[in-house]
């Protein structure tokens, strides 16, 4: 029961990633693409946490946290670059 629901959740997350990547390719403006990357990173944090649950490894949560820090920095750095702040 619970596993089936988790599988369904995985399918939904996969579709979300497909949508975000489509936006990343179609873009139209650079800000759209960066926003898509931002969404992808948040989804990735959830996915790493889910993987930690599936593999039953507590320490993978550290990976999610470090990934969150780095991706936040990446988006802020890109934004600062775009507004000619660097």
């Amino acid at each position: 029961m619970a596993d089936t629901i988790l599988l369904l959740a995985g399918v939904l997350i996969f579709l979300a990633i497909v949508f975000a990547v489509t936006r990343l390719i179609l873009g139209r403006t650079i800000v759209d693409r960066v926003a898509a990357v931002d969404l992808l990173t948040v989804i990735s944090i959830s996915m790493i946490a889910l993987y930690a649950h599936i593999a039953d490894r507590f320490i993978y949560l550290d990976v999610a946290l470090v990934y969150g820090v780095l991706s936040f920095l990446a988006v802020v750095a890109t934004a600062r670059y775009l507004e000619r702040g660097l």
């Binding site: 550290d62 470090v66 820090v69």
Partner: protein
């Protein structure tokens, strides 16, 4: 449409690669002989549950020292390449005129987040022998905190003298611990100069936590220096 075709194909191929990885993925359960001997030896000889850190900071600690030296060379080389003696001052002045300051929200958020990232980096460094992490990873997180500070305030001056002195001091101490291993234990950078302690406890695995701290400080300082040089 036509000019988007190559990028679409590239993304599809990338998706294919990831799909094969994701579908064919299974946690490796059977170890090869070398891996098995390491998995058996590291907890027994070094008292470190994290085999990778045990290998990196004891069996292959000399290589780690070399890697940090390479990083140091990179920091020095970036400084050498990017430094333009005559033009540097004038260029940075014109840049600061054009540069837009970060918004107040980003600046405040940086002030709030930097201490939190710093304590997390300290956690990663100190727990290298028990869980995932270690000196290199923690040092990179320290550098990311410094990067956040620089993003929020591009005119911020890093104290490069302090950074260089700390970095050199950490390097010297690292080598001194190694020499202590040569004198008091089995060889250069042997971790058994300190008691191994109880397996899995916070203070255990001999000198590995100490080496990890020194490595983290050194890597953090070096990466910060590189960031600082790229900005100028």
């Amino acid at each position: 449409m036509m000019q988007r075709l190559p990028s679409a194909i590239a993304v599809l191929l990338l998706a294919l690669i990831f799909a094969t990885i994701a579908i064919g993925h299974a946690e490796q359960t059977v170890l090869r002989p070398l891996a098995e001997s390491y998995v058996r030896l590291v907890p027994h000889e070094l008292g470190a549950p994290n085999v990778i850190t045990g290998i990196l900071l004891t069996y292959r600690a000399f290589d780690t020292l070399g890697e940090v030296a390479v990083l140091f060379m990179v920091a020095a080389g970036v400084g050498l390449v990017l430094k333009e003696p005559g033009k540097a001052g004038a260029r940075s002045a014109s840049d600061s005129e054009a540069a837009q300051p970060a918004s107040e929200i980003v600046r405040t958020a940086a002030q709030i987040l930097v201490p939190l990232i710093a304590i997390f980096a300290a956690y990663i460094i100190m727990n290298g022998h028990i869980s995932a992490g270690g000196g290199f990873q923690g040092g990179a997180v320290i550098a990311s905190a410094v990067l956040l500070m620089l993003l929020a305030d591009p005119s911020h001056k890093l104290n490069s003298v302090f950074l260089s002195v700390t970095e050199s001091l950490a390097g010297v101490l690292f080598v001194l611990v190694g020499i202590a291993g040569l004198i008091f234990a089995g060889g250069f950078l042997d971790n058994r100069v300190l008691p191994l302690g109880q397996f899995g406890a916070f203070f255990s695995a001999g000198a590995i936590p100490l080496l990890s701290v020194l490595l983290g400080v050194k890597v953090g300082c070096e990466l910060s220096v590189i960031l600082d040089r790229f900005r100028a």
